[in-house]
Assembly symmetry: C2
Amino acid sequence: MSEYRAPLRDMRFAMDEILDYPSHYASLPNGEESSPEMVDAIMDEAAKFAESVIAPLNSVGDEEGCQWNDGKVTTPTGFKDAYQQFVDNGWGGLLQKPEWGGQGLPISLNSIVYEMLSTANHAWSMYASLSWGAISTIEAHASEALQQLYIPNMVAGAWSGTMCLTEANSGSDLGLLKTKASPNEDGTYSISGSKIFISSGDHDFTENIIHIVLARLPDAPEGVRGISLFVVPKVQVNADGSLGEGNNVSCGSIEHKMGINGNATCVINFDGAKGHLIAQPHKGLRAMFTFINESRLGVAQQGHAHIEGSYQTAVAYSRDRLQMRAPVPQNPEKPADPIIVHADVRRMLFAQKVFAEGGRLLNYYCAQLVDIVHANQDAAVVENAETQLALLIPVAKGFLTEASLEATSNGIQVLGGHGYISEWGQEQHYRDARITAIYEGTNGIQGLDLLGRKMLGSGGKVMVPFMQEVLGFCQANSTSVYAQATEKAFNNWVALVGKLGAMAAKDPNEVNAAAYDHLMFAGYTVLAYFWAKSAVVAEQALADGSNETEFYQAKIETARFYFARILPRTDSLAAVMASGSGNLMDLSAEAF
Amino acid sequence: MSEYRAPLRDMRFAMDEILDYPSHYASLPNGEESSPEMVDAIMDEAAKFAESVIAPLNSVGDEEGCQWNDGKVTTPTGFKDAYQQFVDNGWGGLLQKPEWGGQGLPISLNSIVYEMLSTANHAWSMYASLSWGAISTIEAHASEALQQLYIPNMVAGAWSGTMCLTEANSGSDLGLLKTKASPNEDGTYSISGSKIFISSGDHDFTENIIHIVLARLPDAPEGVRGISLFVVPKVQVNADGSLGEGNNVSCGSIEHKMGINGNATCVINFDGAKGHLIAQPHKGLRAMFTFINESRLGVAQQGHAHIEGSYQTAVAYSRDRLQMRAPVPQNPEKPADPIIVHADVRRMLFAQKVFAEGGRLLNYYCAQLVDIVHANQDAAVVENAETQLALLIPVAKGFLTEASLEATSNGIQVLGGHGYISEWGQEQHYRDARITAIYEGTNGIQGLDLLGRKMLGSGGKVMVPFMQEVLGFCQANSTSVYAQATEKAFNNWVALVGKLGAMAAKDPNEVNAAAYDHLMFAGYTVLAYFWAKSAVVAEQALADGSNETEFYQAKIETARFYFARILPRTDSLAAVMASGSGNLMDLSAEAF
């Protein structure tokens, strides 16, 4: 009953009117490849593909799930065919270098395509995105020979990739992992150990799967400083690139889980599997984290995807569903008013809308910074972008995935009992979204990364470049009530971080105690900037005589909602953090 | 992997130390039946039954679900046997009158037994609770002859019951329902129409199912003032109580839904089914709502049940799971510390704990008031109890079910990826809990009922009896910081309601705009009272030399957490409500 329609008008608002993607693309080294015409064509085609090929498989994937039999995973009906179309149409290589057979387009543009795919079908989209992560890792850390051996087939979609980090006793704490790598005489390594929760870990799409694996060398120190990085194919690859013999890599089982059922979450057993060391010995974790910004941004997009998808269905339903009367009946010729007239329904829809549209701006802003980090030649510009990403990636990942829990819950509630049954797809959004707060670093880890490592670790300096951006906007638009409120919100944030730093200097538990609440505080504050900017741009468009009155008026009203009904949540969060860690830490573990 | 253990110590704390159930029971007309010894025996046996018979079927019910074939519903493996044990052991008649074959024990005691059953297995427990609702309705509104015909077999568990309200186009707005009832010459009625979302609507437990059905008589006015109440058996019942012929009542299908899969959610078709009118013509809705307090309290308990169940698993897991180090390592001989040492994990556990234990107090307090309404002979005492229930039932139903969404989400997050897979049962709590915010009046409806009908409708008078109770406690314990904070919180609530009343007088949309936030504000404030009282009682117990130091210290520390980290949420809620309805209402429906 639910249908995905790519919100192209709003995506263009973000790209063209708020973030000036056209100038940004023109400034990239191969900017002529991402001309406005090319971008338009890609977005239109991606929308069609996501809407007509991928979205219809979303409920199929959820209902059928993946099947595991005798070590082999079968994906849901239609998934493999859709993957073949994806590959045939060149989507898998959009962002890859031309020398590997890709199109060399900006990461941000791929990211926007990914938004459409993941909103259409989160589970399916993960087969593609895990491959991108594996390709990036090989490209950055493997020898030229290994790159030549693996990457072209991966870019062509003939082979796919995974990231194998987690083990049964090693989740958030990767320092505890036990998978071993023993050197062979031929320069390869024999990998032995069992990895769990491996997304896209096995499937029937491709003839080979290239696993990126964290393991320990025999002489490895304990903890995170003794982890190395390996590339381990499911089927061995001959020197000429043809497939060789099997490789003692097997899928031991798949998880029965709450959501993303169309994606196989696998136990992958390595039993003396042959692999190659990439990156420096014992420096594997640092190497793996090279692409952490991209991978966490991908999860932020998945959270955002469910907000958007759930919102689309909720709005459509609330326009059609007739129940009860507004104080002044809006639909007197019918037995009741459409529920969208009720303030409480609007409260829920608006909360979805501010996160869908504001979250999109945050993600696109980050994706633009990722482009700069990869392609800009000016070291100072790159450093500025890297610093902004250091701040904003944990916010995007942590905050938007938390927002997705609230927004998808609203999406159920707007539909009442109809939201709880499978028919409308709202409950699938709620279930699928829930993983985004967990994987790729739980939101607790994001909170610690943001407050401990980034904020207090830099003495607050990590905030500076983004603050300059924001305060520059606020000062240039000082008559806007939203710009004024944004400036105040950011100043409150700075004051809060100073206070938390002082508290943490006395008691290190304060960092962990405040980490989650600070993450949410940061998210609400960052989104204020994007909503203020949206309102200012919309007001200007109307002042300039735009005939898209409804579109721009909606931006202004949605900003108004955000500042009046969402941003005040920071008040309570600040009060909670100020209460200190004692109320969390003083109870003995036994007494819980 | 998860096991339910009835928290008897905490239940006794609520009953004996906070709410003085022993005196309350002694004051009831048949108080000798619920002596402390009898209550102890019932609780111990109920705990054993819930833990050993019902809880093990929880994941079975979720995995198998109910099956519908050719109009017949088959329940999951073991459900029917467990029901037979339940009936054989007399649990179904615990609260029913002795003249019907019941034990005549207090409603509150049945409610406490129901807490255990629903925490063990929400889906299974609904087969019993729907019957209780049907019995109560027949008892209150049907003729003596119909009572004799139906109730004894229902109390004995040979027949079960349902409540058939919702239709495809009539959910929150029951005034739109279309099911028709035509009078027959023999004084019966022919009922025709289709009901949806009928919990326990069909199953294989009993030879007959007695449906309570809302329908319209031929001369019925439109809307809610034209709804009548009927009792319609699945199989007709002869005058001697034996089963007669079938009755054109069929189960058209069951829903595929997100949770409570062990309970059949049915489409029930009435195709000229023979039934009896009960209650006055056109006054059916009012009659149906006689038991609204009990039925909504039952849903509050279901929400609470998931908080408790999810908390038990989260605490157990967080004591065992070793990941990362506290600032000062707690477990130096092991590779990592148990995660319960981390402040962020404690933040999540504490939030579960305050709602589990505080929510229990609210529910038991309400159940005690229900006893009084049913059994007390003093009209003034009954009126006081009714007024308190008018205030507290929407809070218990609405707030505790909302809290269950947060708490069960925390219960997943504490387990990380292990929370997302089926094995630990945490994701089932998250899915099952979600329905409680929807059915028996959505929480939007609860919010409207509380703020519009109760608070503003009474000019605030509905608050008075409960306020007297609370302020009496606060003044008697004026040295307690928590009593002081509670008094302030309640005064803030009174001020808020006054403000909202003034706003609503100018714009009726303000009620709907503030309803949900006010409901949450009310919930946080009400729970403050119960946590203040818990802290005061625990401090006194320690001062009196109790050797249960850990238990009482935990109460004090949990109260401290509540006031420091949960109650401040009311600050943001108040700011949001003060912003007025314009930011919700001014955007056109088309512009969303």
